[in-house]
Symmetry: C2
Subunit: 329 residues, 2 copies
DNA sequence: ATGAAAGCGCTAACAC
DNA sequence: GTGTTAGCGCTTTCAT
């Protein structure tokens, strides 16, 4: 593997000139440029990013912290991040935290040790103090979930409003006994969506029955299924379910079916996120669409801006209620 | 941000000694070590990986090339890769190729330019020649899919045998008219699974009807749905479907339902991969379990071995037919 | 337009 | 056990 010195020697120029050619500076004669390019080709030279990055004090790597890679909600976001990163000549270091502080700390070290230029965090609650502190000295953006007073810019949607509209839809089509399948209250979105649920009920003079609120221990469908089991064991069964994620809603759907009940005839179901699979269930799932791809795109742009020292403002994106079969009739 | 020199100065020792402390060498007096550690703490020093990596001519990054991040089949594999990488003190650079040669080339450059120490490729067919060539000079492992004569080690399963068993199961429970929903034949696994399908039919003296073989243009469920539409438009409807992936099978399921047909009563369905969703469908999906997590684990180990110059052997892992509701009765 | 040389932050060979 | 120093491969300032 040749280095820049050998190229310079072979081309009969100085390393500075080679570097100029490499970086497309126009202060090089066409003739000299040709010589250098020939040498590069002949020696099969590839400039080392290790050298360049050290010199430039940057890694051109963005750390993406994601709780769980298997959750399809994040796939779309990552898509947006990656495409934007590529455009801006960055690459992403995808890191799964499993909501584990130790794990997250390993990844934080990458930015502390200059192996990453900044962080997009999607699970800031894991380690709020550390994140907040790190945010003072390093470029960080929060995406979807955010720690409110971390002072770190975020991009997200209005979860309260979105949940409010979802539940209002259920009320509008005649439901009065609506269960909430929520995840752990440690998540900001969980608290916000619950507030939206309450707001809708109150606004329509419906009694908010604590017995109709179920909290899951995890985010996978199996937890939706478990929760639904509890819902169905109630003496007075609700006629509708609002689940705070499609995954939970799909688990609920499964459980409803296994009791030979029909959706939406016996029970209507609304999910949240509009993951691809929500359109493949039987029946298809009414859900709240989040602009996942766009959110990723924006988070990446914000982060690169931040890295470059620009001012960055938090952003709240639009959502949309998508009515499908699970709430028909 | 302090550097090693400032730490050395502050501690009253040389940079070499600081480096020794940093790397846990035991040739340092306890007293000296303390001094250094104090200085590190006081200065809030974090060693730069940029410097270290340049010096060591390594990046400690593994490039993971994946066709599509939204496909849940890969999520589990990536999980295995990442956990193993962390254990071995590496990190992963996750890159989505979208089966696009240009895109892949951008990523190949990362390893050519020393920003990654090796590659785990999951879609080697995109760019076989380039990959083969790169494999001569760089550490590469193929995972799941592989280019047969690239000479690059791989870890996978026996796709022919797995498909053979899946179809045999359908035959055993009485089906004689079995359609194949296959993806593009450009994929090795698609060709291998089709051979397994044929083998099972032949072995039972069943006629292989070309009209029962359907090729999709893509891998998402919408393509399974499309294919199923064609299947159902046949004059003589098959009684069973073997789809080469769960995603396709789930799309097929959807289409079957929308024709008010019942699975497995009217049509039995078998998928492939055992993705998490395959247990959430209605009915649950009979499928072939691939050891995705283990495959990722092994691929990562193989790659690190290769990077360290060790000999690496290709590996074929076990699979398992998981019989669920979609083929009951 | 080009070259010489310093230096990014680190490790390790060598000397004591 | 510790220090001195070269050098990993690059970019950039300052000369010329």
């Amino acid at each position: 593997m040749a280095n820049i010195h050998q190229v310079a020697k072979h081309a009969g120029v100085s390393v500075a000139t080679v570097s100029r050619v490499l970086n497309g500076q126009n202060s090089v004669t066409a003739k000299t440029r040709i010589k250098v390019e020939d040498a590069i080709k002949q020696l099969n030279y590839e400039p080392s990013l290790l050298g360049r990055n050290l010199r430039n004090s940057e890694s051109r790597l963005l750390l993406v912290l994601i709780p769980n890679i298997s959750n399809p909600f994040y796939s779309e976001i990552i898509n947006g991040i990656e495409n934007t990163a590529i455009d801006l000549n960055y690459n992403i270091l995808l890191c799964e935290t499993d909501t584990n502080p130790d794990r997250e700390n390993i990844y934080f070290d990458l930015v502390r040790k200059k192996m990453a230029d900044g962080i997009i965090s999607m699970d800031p609650a894991v380690n709020v103090e550390t994140l907040t502190k790190l945010g003072k000295t390093h470029a960080i953006i929060q995406c979807s979930e955010y720690a409110v007073d971390s002072g770190i810019p975020y991009v997200t949607i209005d979860n309260l409003e979105a949940a409010y509209r979802a539940v209002k839809h259920l009320i509008r089509i005649g439901h009065t006994r609506i269960a909430l399948i929520n995840s752990d209250q440690k998540y900001l979105y969980a608290r916000q969506r619950q507030l939206g649920y309450q707001k809708a009920l109150e606004e329509h003079g419906l009694h908010m029955d604590e017995e109709l609120i179920f909290h899951t221990q995890g985010l996978g469908f199996e937890y939706g299924q478990q929760a639904m089991k509890k819902v169905l064991s109630q003496k007075q069964r609700p006629t509708a379910i609002f689940a705070v994620s499609d995954l939970l809603a799909i688990g609920a759907l499964k459980e409803i079916h296994s009791h030979s009940l029909k959706v939406p005839e016996d029970i209507a179901v609304v999910g949240f996120d509009k993951i691809a699979f929500s359109n493949m269930t039987h029946p298809t799932l009414t859900t709240v669409a989040q602009p996942m791809y766009q959110m990723g795109t924006i988070a990446a742009k914000m982060l690169v801006d931040k890295i470059q020292g620009k001012e960055v403002e938090s952003l709240i994106l639009d959502h949309e209620l998508v009515i499908r079969e699970s709430t028909l009739g």
